[in-house]
Amino acid sequence: MSAAAVRDLDLDLEAFEGPFDLLLTLVLREELELVDVDVAEVVVAFVERLAERADPDLDACGEFLVLVAALLELKVRELFPDAEVEELDPEDAAEELAERLAVYRRFRAAAAWLEQRLADRGDRWFRVGPAPLAPTPAPPRLPPQEPARLAEAIRRLAAEPPAPSLHHLGAFPPVSRFLERFRTLLGRRHRFVFDREVEGLARVEQAVAFLALLELRHAGEVALSQPAPFAPIVCSPASA
Protein backbone atom coordinates (compact mmCIF):
# COMPACT_ATOMS: atom_id res chain seq x y z
CA MET A 1 0.00 0.00 0.00
CA SER A 2 1.55 3.29 -1.07
CA ALA A 3 1.21 6.60 0.74
CA ALA A 4 -1.25 7.69 -1.97
CA ALA A 5 -3.32 4.60 -1.31
CA VAL A 6 -3.92 5.80 2.27
CA ARG A 7 -6.16 8.48 0.83
CA ASP A 8 -8.12 5.88 -1.16
CA LEU A 9 -8.80 3.82 1.96
CA ASP A 10 -12.46 2.83 1.79
CA LEU A 11 -14.42 3.68 4.91
CA ASP A 12 -17.86 2.49 6.01
CA LEU A 13 -18.66 4.47 9.15
CA GLU A 14 -21.89 5.46 10.86
CA ALA A 15 -21.47 9.10 9.80
CA PHE A 16 -19.60 8.65 6.51
CA GLU A 17 -19.11 6.18 3.68
CA GLY A 18 -16.43 6.64 1.03
CA PRO A 19 -12.68 7.15 0.60
CA PHE A 20 -10.55 8.60 3.42
CA ASP A 21 -9.52 11.46 1.16
CA LEU A 22 -13.15 12.59 0.75
CA LEU A 23 -13.64 12.38 4.52
CA LEU A 24 -10.68 14.74 5.02
CA THR A 25 -11.98 17.12 2.36
CA LEU A 26 -15.47 17.25 3.91
CA VAL A 27 -14.01 17.83 7.38
CA LEU A 28 -11.77 20.64 6.15
CA ARG A 29 -14.70 22.24 4.31
CA GLU A 30 -16.69 21.89 7.56
CA GLU A 31 -19.39 19.93 5.71
CA LEU A 32 -19.02 17.00 8.10
CA GLU A 33 -19.09 17.25 11.89
CA LEU A 34 -15.95 15.57 13.15
CA VAL A 35 -17.62 14.83 16.50
CA ASP A 36 -19.83 12.32 14.68
CA VAL A 37 -16.88 10.46 13.15
CA ASP A 38 -15.60 7.41 14.99
CA VAL A 39 -11.86 7.84 14.40
CA ALA A 40 -11.17 4.46 15.99
CA GLU A 41 -13.12 2.84 13.13
CA VAL A 42 -10.87 4.65 10.64
CA VAL A 43 -7.83 3.23 12.42
CA VAL A 44 -9.35 -0.26 12.42
CA ALA A 45 -10.02 -0.01 8.65
CA PHE A 46 -6.40 1.02 8.05
CA VAL A 47 -4.98 -1.73 10.24
CA GLU A 48 -7.14 -4.32 8.47
CA ARG A 49 -5.82 -3.11 5.11
CA LEU A 50 -2.28 -3.22 6.51
CA ALA A 51 -2.76 -6.78 7.76
CA GLU A 52 -3.53 -7.92 4.20
CA ARG A 53 0.06 -7.08 3.22
CA ALA A 54 3.17 -9.09 4.06
CA ASP A 55 5.44 -6.05 4.50
CA PRO A 56 4.09 -2.86 6.04
CA ASP A 57 4.74 0.28 3.97
CA LEU A 58 6.43 2.71 6.35
CA ASP A 59 5.59 5.72 4.16
CA ALA A 60 1.92 4.82 4.17
CA CYS A 61 1.98 4.24 7.94
CA GLY A 62 3.72 7.56 8.48
CA GLU A 63 1.24 9.49 6.36
CA PHE A 64 -1.68 7.76 8.01
CA LEU A 65 -0.36 8.56 11.50
CA VAL A 66 0.06 12.23 10.61
CA LEU A 67 -3.43 12.48 9.13
CA VAL A 68 -5.14 10.62 11.98
CA ALA A 69 -3.25 12.66 14.58
CA ALA A 70 -4.42 15.85 12.88
CA LEU A 71 -7.99 14.51 12.77
CA LEU A 72 -7.85 13.64 16.46
CA GLU A 73 -6.52 17.05 17.40
CA LEU A 74 -9.28 18.75 15.39
CA LYS A 75 -11.85 16.52 17.04
CA VAL A 76 -10.56 17.27 20.53
CA ARG A 77 -10.79 20.99 19.81
CA GLU A 78 -14.37 20.53 18.63
CA LEU A 79 -15.35 18.39 21.62
CA PHE A 80 -13.70 20.60 24.23
CA PRO A 81 -13.47 24.09 22.72
CA ASP A 82 -12.85 25.82 26.07
CA ALA A 83 -10.35 23.33 27.46
CA GLU A 84 -6.80 24.50 27.86
CA VAL A 85 -4.39 22.44 25.82
CA GLU A 86 -1.83 20.89 28.08
CA GLU A 87 1.32 19.67 26.40
CA LEU A 88 2.20 16.17 27.61
CA ASP A 89 5.54 14.51 27.23
CA PRO A 90 5.38 11.26 25.20
CA GLU A 91 5.53 9.03 28.30
CA ASP A 92 2.68 10.84 30.03
CA ALA A 93 0.71 10.85 26.81
CA ALA A 94 1.16 7.09 26.44
CA GLU A 95 0.18 6.62 30.08
CA GLU A 96 -2.97 8.71 29.68
CA LEU A 97 -3.85 7.02 26.41
CA ALA A 98 -3.49 3.60 28.02
CA GLU A 99 -5.68 4.68 30.97
CA ARG A 100 -8.38 6.06 28.70
CA LEU A 101 -8.32 3.02 26.47
CA ALA A 102 -8.64 0.81 29.55
CA VAL A 103 -11.70 2.76 30.72
CA TYR A 104 -13.24 2.64 27.27
CA ARG A 105 -12.55 -1.08 26.97
CA ARG A 106 -14.36 -1.71 30.23
CA PHE A 107 -17.48 0.06 28.97
CA ARG A 108 -17.20 -1.70 25.64
CA ALA A 109 -17.09 -4.99 27.52
CA ALA A 110 -20.07 -3.86 29.62
CA ALA A 111 -21.95 -3.13 26.38
CA ALA A 112 -21.08 -6.64 25.16
CA TRP A 113 -22.37 -8.04 28.46
CA LEU A 114 -25.65 -6.15 28.03
CA GLU A 115 -25.95 -7.37 24.44
CA GLN A 116 -25.43 -10.97 25.54
CA ARG A 117 -27.92 -10.50 28.37
CA LEU A 118 -30.48 -9.21 25.88
CA ALA A 119 -29.88 -12.18 23.60
CA ASP A 120 -30.23 -14.62 26.52
CA ARG A 121 -33.56 -13.08 27.42
CA GLY A 122 -34.88 -13.12 23.87
CA ASP A 123 -37.39 -15.83 24.82
CA ARG A 124 -38.88 -13.86 27.72
CA TRP A 125 -41.87 -11.73 26.84
CA PHE A 126 -43.67 -9.36 29.12
CA ARG A 127 -46.29 -6.68 28.91
CA VAL A 128 -45.07 -3.11 28.58
CA GLY A 129 -47.91 -0.83 29.44
CA PRO A 130 -48.34 2.65 30.82
CA ALA A 131 -48.13 2.88 34.59
CA PRO A 132 -51.59 2.39 36.10
CA LEU A 133 -53.21 5.54 37.36
CA ALA A 134 -53.08 6.01 41.10
CA PRO A 135 -56.53 6.56 42.64
CA THR A 136 -57.48 10.20 43.06
CA PRO A 137 -57.16 11.09 46.74
CA ALA A 138 -60.46 11.97 48.45
CA PRO A 139 -60.97 15.72 48.94
CA PRO A 140 -60.13 16.88 52.47
CA ARG A 141 -63.13 16.84 54.82
CA LEU A 142 -64.11 20.17 56.38
CA PRO A 143 -64.31 20.35 60.17
CA PRO A 144 -67.90 20.42 61.59
CA GLN A 145 -69.66 23.73 60.93
CA GLU A 146 -72.42 25.62 62.83
CA PRO A 147 -75.61 25.85 60.72
CA ALA A 148 -76.51 29.25 62.26
CA ARG A 149 -73.23 30.78 61.05
CA LEU A 150 -73.77 29.35 57.56
CA ALA A 151 -77.32 30.82 57.50
CA GLU A 152 -75.96 34.20 58.60
CA ALA A 153 -73.31 34.12 55.85
CA ILE A 154 -75.93 33.26 53.19
CA ARG A 155 -78.27 35.99 54.50
CA ARG A 156 -75.51 38.57 54.14
CA LEU A 157 -74.72 37.39 50.62
CA ALA A 158 -78.40 37.32 49.58
CA ALA A 159 -79.19 40.84 50.89
CA GLU A 160 -80.13 43.45 48.22
CA PRO A 161 -77.14 45.68 47.51
CA PRO A 162 -77.66 49.45 48.06
CA ALA A 163 -78.93 51.32 44.99
CA PRO A 164 -76.07 52.94 43.04
CA SER A 165 -75.80 56.70 43.37
CA LEU A 166 -76.85 58.65 40.26
CA HIS A 167 -76.23 62.00 41.90
CA HIS A 168 -73.41 62.96 39.56
CA LEU A 169 -75.67 62.55 36.51
CA GLY A 170 -77.94 65.37 37.68
CA ALA A 171 -75.05 67.86 37.46
CA PHE A 172 -74.95 67.55 33.63
CA PRO A 173 -77.26 69.90 31.75
CA PRO A 174 -78.75 68.40 28.55
CA VAL A 175 -76.76 69.00 25.35
CA SER A 176 -80.00 70.00 23.60
CA ARG A 177 -80.19 73.16 25.73
CA PHE A 178 -76.95 74.49 24.20
CA LEU A 179 -77.80 73.20 20.72
CA GLU A 180 -80.95 75.30 20.70
CA ARG A 181 -79.16 78.29 22.15
CA PHE A 182 -76.34 78.24 19.59
CA ARG A 183 -78.76 77.69 16.68
CA THR A 184 -80.70 80.77 17.81
CA LEU A 185 -77.47 82.79 18.03
CA LEU A 186 -76.40 81.68 14.57
CA GLY A 187 -79.81 82.72 13.22
CA ARG A 188 -79.55 86.16 14.74
CA ARG A 189 -75.89 87.03 14.20
CA HIS A 190 -73.24 86.46 11.54
CA ARG A 191 -70.77 85.41 14.17
CA PHE A 192 -70.36 84.94 17.91
CA VAL A 193 -67.49 84.11 20.23
CA PHE A 194 -67.97 80.84 22.07
CA ASP A 195 -65.87 81.81 25.10
CA ARG A 196 -67.96 84.87 25.70
CA GLU A 197 -71.23 82.93 25.51
CA VAL A 198 -70.13 80.40 28.16
CA GLU A 199 -68.46 82.90 30.43
CA GLY A 200 -69.67 82.61 34.02
CA LEU A 201 -71.02 79.05 33.55
CA ALA A 202 -69.90 76.11 35.70
CA ARG A 203 -67.08 73.92 34.25
CA VAL A 204 -69.50 71.05 33.60
CA GLU A 205 -71.85 73.41 31.73
CA GLN A 206 -68.95 74.79 29.69
CA ALA A 207 -67.93 71.23 28.76
CA VAL A 208 -71.49 70.33 27.66
CA ALA A 209 -71.68 73.59 25.67
CA PHE A 210 -68.44 72.69 23.88
CA LEU A 211 -69.89 69.26 23.12
CA ALA A 212 -72.96 70.93 21.62
CA LEU A 213 -70.68 73.15 19.48
CA LEU A 214 -68.85 70.06 18.18
CA GLU A 215 -72.21 68.44 17.37
CA LEU A 216 -73.18 71.49 15.29
CA ARG A 217 -69.80 71.41 13.51
CA HIS A 218 -70.29 67.70 12.83
CA ALA A 219 -73.74 68.40 11.38
CA GLY A 220 -72.25 71.14 9.15
CA GLU A 221 -74.30 73.92 10.75
CA VAL A 222 -71.41 75.99 12.03
CA ALA A 223 -67.94 77.04 10.88
CA LEU A 224 -65.32 77.42 13.62
CA SER A 225 -62.10 79.34 13.64
CA GLN A 226 -59.44 79.86 16.28
CA PRO A 227 -56.46 82.11 15.41
CA ALA A 228 -54.11 80.45 17.93
CA PRO A 229 -54.20 77.61 20.48
CA PHE A 230 -56.35 78.58 23.50
CA ALA A 231 -57.50 81.76 21.71
CA PRO A 232 -61.29 82.49 21.73
CA ILE A 233 -63.29 80.26 19.31
CA VAL A 234 -65.19 82.26 16.73
CA CYS A 235 -68.40 80.68 15.42
CA SER A 236 -70.32 81.62 12.26
CA PRO A 237 -73.06 79.95 10.15
CA ALA A 238 -71.52 77.29 7.88
CA SER A 239 -73.07 78.81 4.75
CA ALA A 240 -71.63 82.26 5.52
Binding site: V35, A110, F126
Partner: protein, 198 residues
Protein backbone atom coordinates in the same frame (compact mmCIF):
# COMPACT_ATOMS: atom_id res chain seq x y z
CA UNK B 1 -70.73 -31.95 33.28
CA UNK B 2 -68.42 -29.38 34.87
CA UNK B 3 -65.36 -30.86 36.61
CA UNK B 4 -65.32 -30.10 40.32
CA UNK B 5 -62.61 -27.63 41.38
CA UNK B 6 -61.23 -27.61 44.88
CA UNK B 7 -60.76 -24.05 46.08
CA UNK B 8 -58.21 -23.67 48.84
CA UNK B 9 -59.46 -21.03 51.20
CA UNK B 10 -56.97 -20.04 53.85
CA UNK B 11 -55.71 -16.48 54.61
CA UNK B 12 -52.41 -16.88 52.74
CA UNK B 13 -54.22 -18.21 49.66
CA UNK B 14 -56.67 -15.36 49.76
CA UNK B 15 -53.76 -12.91 49.97
CA UNK B 16 -51.98 -14.74 47.11
CA UNK B 17 -55.09 -14.38 44.92
CA UNK B 18 -55.22 -10.62 45.63
CA UNK B 19 -51.52 -10.31 44.76
CA UNK B 20 -52.13 -12.17 41.49
CA UNK B 21 -54.83 -9.62 40.66
CA UNK B 22 -52.60 -6.64 41.47
CA UNK B 23 -49.75 -8.01 39.35
CA UNK B 24 -52.09 -8.60 36.40
CA UNK B 25 -53.40 -5.03 36.55
CA UNK B 26 -49.96 -3.42 37.03
CA UNK B 27 -48.05 -2.25 33.95
CA UNK B 28 -44.73 -2.39 35.82
CA UNK B 29 -43.02 -4.54 38.48
CA UNK B 30 -44.53 -3.89 41.92
CA UNK B 31 -42.20 -3.79 44.95
CA UNK B 32 -43.14 -5.84 48.04
CA UNK B 33 -43.79 -2.65 50.03
CA UNK B 34 -46.35 -1.44 47.46
CA UNK B 35 -48.08 -4.83 47.45
CA UNK B 36 -48.20 -4.74 51.26
CA UNK B 37 -49.69 -1.23 51.24
CA UNK B 38 -52.32 -2.16 48.64
CA UNK B 39 -53.39 -5.32 50.49
CA UNK B 40 -53.05 -3.73 53.95
CA UNK B 41 -50.87 -6.64 55.06
CA UNK B 42 -47.45 -7.07 56.70
CA UNK B 43 -44.56 -7.32 54.17
CA UNK B 44 -43.59 -10.65 55.73
CA UNK B 45 -47.01 -12.14 54.98
CA UNK B 46 -46.86 -10.73 51.43
CA UNK B 47 -43.49 -12.45 50.95
CA UNK B 48 -44.97 -15.75 52.15
CA UNK B 49 -47.83 -15.41 49.67
CA UNK B 50 -45.36 -14.46 46.89
CA UNK B 51 -43.35 -17.60 47.63
CA UNK B 52 -46.57 -19.57 47.15
CA UNK B 53 -47.14 -17.83 43.79
CA UNK B 54 -43.51 -18.42 42.72
CA UNK B 55 -44.20 -22.13 43.06
CA UNK B 56 -47.40 -21.93 41.06
CA UNK B 57 -46.22 -19.58 38.32
CA UNK B 58 -42.97 -21.12 37.19
CA UNK B 59 -41.49 -22.42 33.94
CA UNK B 60 -42.85 -25.80 32.77
CA UNK B 61 -45.83 -25.52 35.13
CA UNK B 62 -47.63 -22.41 33.87
CA UNK B 63 -47.88 -20.20 30.80
CA UNK B 64 -47.33 -17.22 33.09
CA UNK B 65 -44.16 -16.94 35.15
CA UNK B 66 -43.70 -14.78 38.22
CA UNK B 67 -40.29 -13.13 38.42
CA UNK B 68 -38.48 -10.67 40.66
CA UNK B 69 -37.17 -7.93 38.39
CA UNK B 70 -36.46 -4.17 38.37
CA UNK B 71 -36.90 -3.90 42.13
CA UNK B 72 -40.31 -5.56 42.18
CA UNK B 73 -42.48 -8.51 41.14
CA UNK B 74 -44.02 -9.01 37.73
CA UNK B 75 -45.59 -11.61 35.51
CA UNK B 76 -44.11 -12.53 32.15
CA UNK B 77 -44.83 -15.16 29.51
CA UNK B 78 -43.26 -18.60 29.95
CA UNK B 79 -40.26 -19.20 27.69
CA UNK B 80 -42.12 -22.09 26.10
CA UNK B 81 -44.55 -19.55 24.60
CA UNK B 82 -41.80 -17.31 23.16
CA UNK B 83 -42.28 -18.44 19.54
CA UNK B 84 -46.02 -17.79 19.66
CA UNK B 85 -45.40 -14.41 21.29
CA UNK B 86 -42.92 -13.55 18.56
CA UNK B 87 -45.51 -14.23 15.87
CA UNK B 88 -48.03 -11.90 17.49
CA UNK B 89 -45.98 -9.16 19.16
CA UNK B 90 -42.99 -6.92 18.54
CA UNK B 91 -40.28 -5.64 20.88
CA UNK B 92 -39.57 -2.07 19.79
CA UNK B 93 -37.74 -1.22 23.01
CA UNK B 94 -34.91 -3.70 22.59
CA UNK B 95 -34.95 -4.27 18.81
CA UNK B 96 -31.92 -3.16 16.82
CA UNK B 97 -29.86 -1.51 19.56
CA UNK B 98 -26.68 -0.34 17.81
CA UNK B 99 -23.17 -0.74 19.23
CA UNK B 100 -23.10 3.02 19.95
CA UNK B 101 -26.44 2.76 21.82
CA UNK B 102 -25.25 -0.24 23.87
CA UNK B 103 -21.99 1.49 24.83
CA UNK B 104 -23.87 4.66 25.79
CA UNK B 105 -26.36 2.58 27.77
CA UNK B 106 -23.48 0.85 29.58
CA UNK B 107 -21.93 4.22 30.54
CA UNK B 108 -25.29 5.53 31.83
CA UNK B 109 -26.01 2.28 33.70
CA UNK B 110 -22.67 2.34 35.55
CA UNK B 111 -22.04 6.07 35.98
CA UNK B 112 -25.57 7.55 35.94
CA UNK B 113 -26.63 10.19 36.54
CA UNK B 114 -24.20 11.24 33.84
CA UNK B 115 -24.23 14.05 31.24
CA UNK B 116 -23.74 13.82 27.48
CA UNK B 117 -20.29 15.53 27.54
CA UNK B 118 -19.13 12.98 30.14
CA UNK B 119 -20.34 10.11 27.94
CA UNK B 120 -18.65 11.69 24.90
CA UNK B 121 -15.40 11.94 26.87
CA UNK B 122 -15.41 8.22 27.62
CA UNK B 123 -16.56 7.01 24.20
CA UNK B 124 -14.62 9.57 22.14
CA UNK B 125 -17.65 10.44 19.98
CA UNK B 126 -20.68 12.69 20.49
CA UNK B 127 -23.47 10.88 22.35
CA UNK B 128 -26.38 13.09 21.28
CA UNK B 129 -28.12 10.78 18.84
CA UNK B 130 -27.46 7.66 20.94
CA UNK B 131 -28.96 9.33 24.02
CA UNK B 132 -31.97 10.61 22.04
CA UNK B 133 -32.66 7.08 20.78
CA UNK B 134 -32.37 5.56 24.25
CA UNK B 135 -34.69 8.21 25.72
CA UNK B 136 -37.22 7.51 22.95
CA UNK B 137 -37.10 3.79 23.75
CA UNK B 138 -37.66 4.55 27.44
CA UNK B 139 -34.40 2.88 28.54
CA UNK B 140 -32.87 6.16 29.70
CA UNK B 141 -34.47 9.25 31.27
CA UNK B 142 -33.42 12.73 32.28
CA UNK B 143 -32.22 13.05 35.88
CA UNK B 144 -31.93 16.82 36.37
CA UNK B 145 -28.79 18.94 36.26
CA UNK B 146 -25.84 18.96 38.63
CA UNK B 147 -25.81 22.78 38.59
CA UNK B 148 -28.47 25.24 37.46
CA UNK B 149 -26.65 26.00 34.21
CA UNK B 150 -24.98 22.59 33.84
CA UNK B 151 -25.80 19.94 31.22
CA UNK B 152 -28.76 17.58 31.66
CA UNK B 153 -27.82 14.28 33.26
CA UNK B 154 -29.28 10.88 32.41
CA UNK B 155 -30.03 7.67 34.31
CA UNK B 156 -31.38 4.27 33.33
CA UNK B 157 -35.06 3.50 33.93
CA UNK B 158 -37.00 0.65 35.55
CA UNK B 159 -37.81 -0.47 31.98
CA UNK B 160 -34.07 -0.88 31.34
CA UNK B 161 -33.82 -3.22 34.34
CA UNK B 162 -36.91 -5.10 33.16
CA UNK B 163 -35.66 -5.52 29.58
CA UNK B 164 -32.23 -6.71 30.71
CA UNK B 165 -33.68 -8.84 33.53
CA UNK B 166 -31.92 -7.04 36.38
CA UNK B 167 -33.38 -6.86 39.89
CA UNK B 168 -31.37 -3.65 40.44
CA UNK B 169 -28.07 -1.87 39.64
CA UNK B 170 -26.23 -4.41 41.84
CA UNK B 171 -26.86 -7.11 39.22
CA UNK B 172 -24.44 -5.48 36.78
CA UNK B 173 -21.00 -7.12 36.77
CA UNK B 174 -18.25 -5.13 38.47
CA UNK B 175 -16.48 -2.79 36.02
CA UNK B 176 -13.12 -3.98 37.35
CA UNK B 177 -13.95 -7.48 36.11
CA UNK B 178 -14.65 -6.23 32.59
CA UNK B 179 -12.27 -5.20 29.80
CA UNK B 180 -8.57 -5.04 30.43
CA UNK B 181 -6.25 -3.39 32.88
CA UNK B 182 -4.21 -0.36 31.83
CA UNK B 183 -1.03 -2.29 32.63
CA UNK B 184 -1.97 -5.08 30.26
CA UNK B 185 -2.70 -2.58 27.49
CA UNK B 186 0.55 -0.74 28.06
CA UNK B 187 2.49 -4.00 27.93
CA UNK B 188 0.84 -4.87 24.61
CA UNK B 189 1.67 -1.43 23.17
CA UNK B 190 5.28 -1.80 24.27
CA UNK B 191 5.38 -5.32 22.86
CA UNK B 192 4.17 -4.09 19.45
CA UNK B 193 6.68 -1.22 19.55
CA UNK B 194 9.50 -3.65 20.42
CA UNK B 195 8.68 -5.97 17.55
CA UNK B 196 8.52 -3.05 15.11
CA UNK B 197 11.89 -1.79 16.35
CA UNK B 198 13.53 -5.21 16.02
Amino acid sequence: MQPSLRVIDNPVDRLARTLEALLVVAGRPLPTAELAAATDEEEERVETALALLLGRYREERSGIVLEQVAGGWAFRAARQAATACERLFDRPVARGLSQAALETLAVVAYLGPVSRPEIARIRGVAADSAIAGLVERGLVAEAGREEAAGPVRYRTTALFERVFGLTGPGDLPSLDDLGGEADELRARLEDVAGRRGA
